[in-house]
């Protein structure tokens, strides 16, 4: 059987979190009443002139630096012409032959090995308006247009065809998202469309240099659907070739419901966009001093932070990777560490119970009802022996549900650990009296029986008994 190699490149569109649009002073805020965040410029009315938002250029430089790109010394905007109602001007202002940045890379980890994925280019452009169809685009009798999003600044980041599997593509996109979130220029929410991804996919016989014919896949709205869509498309192409067929170069859309890709008609015949230099905008000269001043805004990026966690906190590489995957989680971890200096304890709780509750409640860590200081206070009363480890989990769930601090919950619910030897002795004696079989098992050397006996005390005290003390008491009473 012929062996095939998968070749994937990703084109990512990223909405920048500026206050105003890229070429005019209309608001970029999401979800307003249709056609209220618009002005004569983004509506393409005659006689108006666009002016570039300086923050967009600086954010583009910042992201480009984070992705190890070369920042152009000279850059300009171009017109991309196409006839489609998502842009009222009938063209989109984009960058063609002189993008703001070229030749970058990021590193992804595959089975413990680092792999460099090249970034071909990064450029600035304006987002389009939103079209609302009745049913699907092909069956709707008409479409409704909202231009609130038209002119929102976008960065387009194009990777080299360096990705060799759908999984690699997903890991690359996750890493890209992580790096961009650290720079703080975008929310990177795939579900809300502030991070969008198209993929160029082809397969070639293993060992061959030249690329196979590629298809472009659109409409993948989550990391999961990216991997699923690419997996489907790769097997479809291999099947077509295996049957002696040929791959048609075309744009295909991912149909999540059916789990397949389908060809779609392109916006414009043969993508004939007739680019030309945008006459309404003057070119940009990017002085190196400007680049260096933007570089000062660059935060510690995920790779560096992960290494620091391993080096300075002695955390396992896996923990460090999870904690630094988003800036918010790493910030939370460090805030917690400021109040309680045991990195591994903090890491275990954040990666365990905290992440579990965040996921099941569909919350991001910056929306966490338990503040880092509060979480640290739970560790402190745990260390002091006020509550047992088991009760700590109950207290934590309550903290998460109510936002109250650990001490208050322990008091209100009467969860203070029973460490009073006299009252525990009474319960221990009752358990011994009621379980002669386990007692004799334990006496004859079956350590497991002790666990059962301790469990009975825990049951009687609703988990509040001090486990160490209970163990000690059983040993004294049975073995002596």
């Amino acid at each position: 059987m012929t062996q095939y190699e998968t070749v994937i490149g990703l084109e990512v569109h990223l909405e920048l979190k500026t206050d105003s649009k890229i070429f005019c002073s209309s608001s970029t805020s999401f979800g307003g009443k249709p056609n209220t965040h618009v002005c004569p410029v983004c509506l393409g009315l005659p006689g108006v002139l666009p002016v570039v938002n300086k923050k967009v250029v600086e954010d583009a430089i910042l992201v480009a630096l984070a992705l190890n790109c070369r920042i152009a010394e000279f850059s300009k905007f171009d017109r991309k012409n196409y006839y489609y109602p998502d842009m009222p001007k009938n063209y989109q202002i984009s960058q063609y032959d002189l993008p703001i940045a070229l030749n970058g890379y990021l590193e992804i980890e595959l089975d413990g090995e680092l792999k460099k994925i090249g970034i071909t280019r990064l450029h600035m452009e304006e987002d389009t308006g939103k079209l609302v169809h009745q049913g699907t685009i092909t069956t709707t009798p008409f479409s409704l247009v909202d231009y609130n999003r038209a002119g929102v600044p976008l960065l387009e980041i194009v990777s080299e065809p360096d990705l060799r599997s759908p999984e690699e593509a997903r890991i690359y996109l996750e890493k890209l998202k992580s790096i961009i979130q650290y720079t703080g220029v975008s929310d990177c929410r795939m579900e809300e469309g502030s991070l969008r991804c198209d993929a160029n996919v082809s397969v070639r016989q293993l060992g061959k240099e030249e690329f196979g014919t590629k298809t472009e896949i659109k409409n993948m709205n989550s990391f999961r659907s990216l991997q699923k869509a690419l997996t489907y498309e790769v097997s479809r192409q291999i099947e077509v070739l295996g049957e002696g067929g040929r791959i048609v170069q075309e744009t295909r859309t991912w149909d999540e419901g059916q789990g397949i890709t389908l060809p779609i008609r392109s916006k414009e015949e043969a993508h004939d966009y007739r680019y030309f230099p945008e006459p309404d905008l003057v070119p940009m000269i990017i002085e190196r001093e400007w680049v260096e001043s933007v570089r000062k805004r660059l935060p510690e990026l995920p790779d560096a932070r992960r290494e620091r966690y391993v080096r300075d906190y002695g955390l396992p590489v896996y923990d460090a990777g999870v904690l630094t995957s988003t800036k918010e989680m790493a910030d939370y971890f460090e805030a917690c560490l400021n109040a309680y200096s045991s990195p591994k304890t903090v890491s275990n709780w954040i990666m365990g119970d905290l992440s579990r509750l965040l996921n099941s409640n569909n919350l991001e860590i910056n929306e966490c009802p338990v503040s880092p200081v509060n979480l640290a206070s739970l560790f402190k009363i745990l260390d002091e022996g006020t509550i047992s480890g088991k009760i700590a989990k109950v207290v934590f769930e309550e903290m998460f549900a109510t936002g109250k601090d650990a001490g208050t919950i322990v008091k209100e619910k009467g969860l203070v650990q029973i460490s009073d030897e006299e009252s525990l002795t009474a319960i221990v004696e009752e358990v011994i009296a009621g379980n002669p079989k386990s007692v004799s098992d334990y006496r004859s050397g079956k350590d497991k029986a002790l666990g059962f006996l301790v469990g009975q005390v825990m049951k009687a005290t609703k988990g509040k008994a001090n486990p160490e003390l209970v163990n000690k008491l059983f040993k004294e009473k049975i073995l002596n």
């Binding site: 209309s26 070119p283 000269i285």
Partner: protein, 93 residues
Amino acid sequence: MIKKSDVEHVALLARLELTDNEKEIYTRQLNDILGHFESLQELETTNVEPMAHVLSLFNVFREDKVDRHLPSENVLANCPDRDEDCFRVPKIV
């Protein structure tokens, strides 16, 4: 050399409906224009940087500030068809 098929292609991209007679006229006229520009090719431009803009002006920027929006009624005042706050356009594909 512009062919009639080029004129048809460009007309389609611009959503222009042309009669056969018009296609002939525009093919001839566009070739005349290109012929005129050909004389510029005679200039020696080996050491001339391609021009990105006719003005020798660079780096014109605005600060990231939100200003007034156009009132909704004005936004939709000239549109031929609307549905409440949206522009309504014919079927696209």
